[in-house]
Symmetry: C2
């Protein structure tokens, strides 16, 4: 049996069943970040993301954008938990034949984003590799009462999303702005029941919330905010690496959020009891497809 | 100009000049771990290490040993700063064609070592890759007064090493035991002025201490504890990935350490003023070579 036979999520489940953690771990594997006890009022968030040439970007992509992306995906994970990013360490796999000017551009893209988000890059590791590999591990902090997990969605919650969906493949995955301002605005002013960033695809990431929250959901396709580059709603439903925030809140909170008009928050559906499953209602108002699509590494 | 023209350390210096950190960072890039403010009595340690098939291990090596090594190298970094490892996140680059049984063995080797050292594996990331890649980021904690850095060596300090050197290539790099007990014994009972783990090679790692401490050193080749597998002193001087601890303490502390007889600590030389440079005295007591050898990735 090979990895492609059990799939990425099959493998993750296989690992999770074998891992034990002690009482200092509030949330281990299975969310956007690990959540660790820090002090009286705060939790520490800890996450890692690896990107590899040929898998997560093209070898011909501008190294400045690649370096930027490596950091941005981890920032997005911290945002999804409601926190503020603080520190990062960076492991690089580099070819000895790589042009120094390209590495300089990579560093420039990364360091500029770090500066913008006030992240301290505090260490790293360099190894020799055939292809460019970047792994970023990030630490963040979140007030205990502002922590957002995948597991808190409740039937009746309104499902909302930031920005628009469907343009990852058109370059958004290299240029997206992590939704830190939006996330902090949400957790500072409202009660957010669950949150995740759209990295695998809207339906698949919603599926992660539903699984962890033991819930179902209905999504109204016509409500999904499409990017100009999206060819149709299917792109928006399945496109990974959008790095928008997908979150749920009670009907009352949702109406306050949508009326706040500070950022673009769009309601797209509702959390349902588990038995309902996950269904989308299409534009013709037919009871829609119940399907799951999105990105798996294998 | 290509990376191989400026070398691994040239690249690291290039990065370090561009990085700024805020006052919460006690020590950023340039030591075995980053050191971050945590609470009144403790610092947090943060480190990452990436290992890649073909560079850091062979594709034919037992995956259990490879998984073990991935975690052990980061534990060793925490030890070198005098701390205790606590949490790890793991990024994996895996081929879709990899046998599930091999991934299971990899996880087994890693999880067993995590259990032994009471490390919580709290998250991870999986990506598709041609070759096996493992990146481990680790958090540890160290009491403020027990923190060891590369920068604290003082002329007159005795240079000491744990265990024996020269057998990395014979398999030690896959099977070594991180020197956590030894490191904690040292920082709990003595004043250690500087410490590093031997990952690049004895002389090169000593060179890191000397550079950060603005000092020189003399090493007596005959005093270096050789592994049975070492072919001679050159192996011991240059062999990377030994993961022994190289540390310095005042003459008085050193004599107490050596007389403690609890673990194998061997004095091998003395810290000198910077103008002395780094010299080794060979077995015939000639004033020896002043050279630098060890591993660079390019």
């Amino acid at each position: 049996m090979r990895l492609k036979d059990i799939g990425e999520f099959g493998l993750i489940k296989r690992f999770q069943g074998k891992i034990k953690t002690d009482s200092s771990v509030v949330r281990g594997s299975g969310d956007d970040c690990a959540v660790l006890k820090l002090d009286k009022n705060n939790y520490q968030l800890f996450t890692c993301d690896m990107i590899i040439a040929g898998t997560d970007f093209k070898s011909t992509d501008d190294p400045a954008l690649v370096g930027r992306k490596a950091l941005a995906v981890s920032i997005s994970d911290i945002c999804a938990c409601g926190g503020t990013p603080k520190y990062a360490v960076v492991s690089l796999g580099l070819s000895p034949n790589m042009l120094v000017t390209r590495v300089d551009r990579l560093a420039k893209g990364m360091f500029e984003l770090a500066k913008k988000y006030r992240i301290n890059i505090v260490g790293g590791d360099i190894s020799s590799a055939d292809k460019l590999i970047i792994d970023v591990s990030m630490l963040g902090v979140v007030e205990k009462d502002k922590l957002c997990l995948r597991s808190g969605a409740k039937p009746g919650d309104i499902i909302m999303v930031t920005g628009s969906l469907g343009s990852s493949i058109k370059g958004k995955h290299l240029k997206f702005e992590p939704r830190l301002k939006e996330a902090r605005f949400l957790v500072n002013n409202f009660k957010i029941n669950s949150m995740i960033d759209v990295s695998d695809g809207l339906l698949q990431d919603l599926g992660h919330i539903l699984e962890q929250s033991s819930s179902g959901a209905v999504i109204y396709e016509k409500l999904i905010p499409l990017s100009r580059e999206a060819r149709g709603v299917d792109d928006a439903l399945s496109s990974g690496e959008e790095f928008e925030l997908l979150f749920t809140a009670s009907r009352d909170q949702a109406s306050r959020i949508i009326n706040s008009s500070k950022y673009r928050f769009t309601p797209i559906g509702e959390i349902m009891p588990k038995a309902f499953g996950l269904r989308t209602i299409n534009a013709e108002a037919c009871t829609g497809r119940s399907f799951k699509t999105g990105y798996q590494h294998f």
